[in-house]
């Protein structure tokens, strides 16, 4: 904190000059978050539903994939894609590496959320569907999933914030994200404390915005189930 005041005078003009680059950094961070989350969502549904299949090979395969990507650290996955994959002859753009790693890792965690939420819908709801002659697919689509969604939103919110918080990893594989840009600002101004405080504040702001969006989503999902005072 000691260097905060003396350099503040020089820091602000530097900051103003750096604003366009910071905005670019924010954009890259948001892009990685959104793309990573989209991939994770698709994988979470696919793996989560497959891991409830009646057929053992299907269920086992899905479980194996989930356990693999949960069990090997995100960092290892990212570095493997960035450093090791090219040695097998496939070179991905750094941003693509990051999106893929985030999607696979958080998709595996999300699969557990989907599986758990589907399992948490009362069995009686499925029975009501059977009593109305609905087939398995129709029951899942029209009865179980709409109710499971309301249970998924809160854990998905946590995962989404986690995913956002993991994006500074991008700067380690040369992607010019927000952390990367502010690090540049820090080295050009020497205002270490101010730079990192600003950086933490920006991430906090983004996390708050994401949380608020997800809270609104959760309230809507719960209202659809006729539960008041959600979130």
């Amino acid at each position: 904190m000691a260097d905060l005041l003396p350099v503040a005078a020089g820091f602000l003009p530097e900051l103003r000059r750096a604003l366009p680059r910071l905005a670019e950094g924010v954009l890259v961070t948001v892009e990685a978050t959104v793309l990573g989350a989209a991939l994770a969502l698709v994988l979470a549904y696919a793996l989560g539903l497959l891991s409830r299949s009646d057929r053992l090979p299907v269920r086992g395969g899905a479980r194996l994939v989930v356990e693999f990507f949960r069990g090997t650290s995100l960092y290892v996955q990212l570095f493997w894609l960035f450093f090791a994959l090219p040695m097998l002859g496939f070179r991905l753009e750094p941003l693509a590496c990051a999106v893929l790693a985030l999607g696979l890792n958080y998709g595996a965690y999300g699969a557990e959320v989907v599986r758990g939420a589907v399992a948490a819908v009362p069995r009686a709801q499925t029975e009501a569907g059977i009593a109305l002659g609905m087939g398995a697919g129709l029951r899942l689509r029209r009865v179980v999933l709409p109710q499971a969604h309301a249970l998924m939103v809160a854990p998905f919110k946590n995962l989404l914030v986690q995913l956002l918080k993991a994006t500074p990893l991008l700067s380690l594989v040369t992607v010019p994200d927000l952390t990367f840009q502010i690090d540049q600002l820090r080295s050009s101004t020497g205002a270490t404390a101010a730079s990192y405080l600003l950086l933490l504040g920006l991430y906090f702001g983004m996390a708050v915005v994401l949380s608020l969006l997800m809270n609104a989503l959760e309230r809507a999902a719960k209202a659809r189930l006729g539960q008041e005072g959600g979130a």
Partner: protein, 283 residues
């Protein structure tokens, strides 16, 4: 969407469809026949070689102490559970099993066999089991549209008729959670009837209700029983209701039928000691 059964499910003016009429020339097969049906959970035997027949349009009430296997019979019939041994027949053909293997030997039915046939059966649950994410009307329209392939307009019109029948014509757009237990159960009855089942299963439909809400549900069911020739299988502790609607009452104990007879007779002068003791305990 399979629609094999549609011909006898076409819209009728009467909101509650009569049971599917059989060929008058053919000897009337019972609507339901349990043939030496056994159900075990682990090493606990709930039903032990049960034989049971329910005729078309017949109203049968199952009574007995809890755990005696009454609800299991309804759940087996609705395919919510599978039999351990024995065969359930529906309208004279195997339901829990189907011909397969060599020389037409019966094998446990697959999902497709069950899916087509169980549409003839409707069920009302103790806990209503309405879909909380759908409005009252959507609850009723859901299966006719997505299972039977009816148009939204037809299904919607019929659903409103059914809501009138159960006295909830003004609550079509309400959320189920906004309704009282008695109202929810009446919606559940309308929802089951919307599928025009030939057989309706009532599983302790008033047990989860506050005492003052029981009458409104039973009145609706009396109406349904009076105005249709639907086959009824009913598990209840409401002896007055049982007497009003049933042709026959079966007294169960430990997975076996202890006594069976016309409603008035069995309730007035039970022959069996167990029945007397049970009736004494619920009055």
């Amino acid at each position: 969407m399979p629609t094999e059964d549609r011909e006898d499910l076409t819209a009728r003016a009467d909101p509650v469809a009569p049971a599917a009429t059989a060929d008058p020339m053919a000897p009337a097969a019972p609507a339901v026949r349990f043939d030496r049906v056994t159900k075990r959970y682990g090493d606990r035997t709930v039903l032990d070689g049960l034989d049971l027949e329910v005729g078309r349009g017949e109203r049968v009430t199952l009574i007995g102490p809890s755990g005696s296997g009454k609800t299991t019979i309804l759940r087996l019939l609705m395919t919510l559970e599978r039999v351990t041994d024995g065969v359930i027949h529906l309208d004279g053909e195997p339901f829990s099993h189907m011909p397969g293997g060599s020389r037409g030997k019966l094998v446990p039915a697959n999902e497709r066999h069950l899916a087509v046939r169980r549409r003839r059966i409707g069920m009302v649950f103790q806990q209503f089991n309405l879909f909380p994410h759908m409005s009252v009307l959507e609850n009723i329209v859901e299966a006719p549209v997505h299972v039977l392939g009816e148009s939204r307009e037809d299904a919607g019109r019929r659903a409103r008729d059914l809501l009138e029948l159960v006295g909830l014509g003004d609550r079509a757009d309400a959320r189920p959670t906004r309704l009282s237990g008695g109202q929810q159960q009446r919606v559940a009855i309308a929802r089951a009837l919307a599928m025009r089942p030939g057989i309706l299963l009532l599983d302790e439909v008033t047990s989860a209700l506050d005492p003052e809400l029981v009458a409104e549900v039973l009145d609706v069911l009396r109406d349904v029983a009076r105005s249709t020739d639907i086959t009824l299988l009913c598990v209840t502790h409401e002896m007055g209701f049982a007497r009003d609607v049933s042709d026959r009452i079966l007294m169960f104990d430990r997975g076996r039928i202890v006594e069976s007879g016309p409603a008035d007779e069995l309730l007035e002068s039970p022959a069996h000691e167990r029945t007397r003791a049970f009736l004494g305990s619920v009055r």
